[in-house]
Symmetry: C2
Subunit: 67 residues, 2 copies
């Protein structure tokens, strides 16, 4: 399966220290300005406020930065 883990960081945090926000995300849908709905393959939903900083799909990693 090709879901990704979503991590959240802040402008002053090293990328390696980003917190895991939601695992096994399938759907990423915009909800508004810098606001996204994440839905995992297990049906878990979370709203994340931030900007996408990087996505590496092969590494199953999406990094958001808090705004």
């Amino acid at each position: 399966m090709c879901e990704s883990n979503v991590y959240l960081t802040t402008p002053n945090t090293l990328e390696e220290d980003a917190e895991l926000y939601l695992e096994a995300v399938d759907l990423v849908l915009p909800e508004g300005e810098d606001c996204w709905r994440l839905i995992s393959i297990f049906g878990e939903q979370k709203i994340i406020n931030g900007r996408i900083k990087s996505m590496s799909l092969v590494n199953h990693r999406i990094l958001f930065e808090r705004v």
Copy 2:
């Protein structure tokens, strides 16, 4: 491999009619306001101007809408 195909649509186009913009995308990186760098697993790079409308990683599909 968990790369995705990137599609581009316009506000007045049906999602099914979105054009394939770049295949087998691994990296999606912000380049500025509504501007993203796409890098495929083959190293091909393309800039896309638009907003992310939806991502379904399990379906290997990222949809951008032109702005």
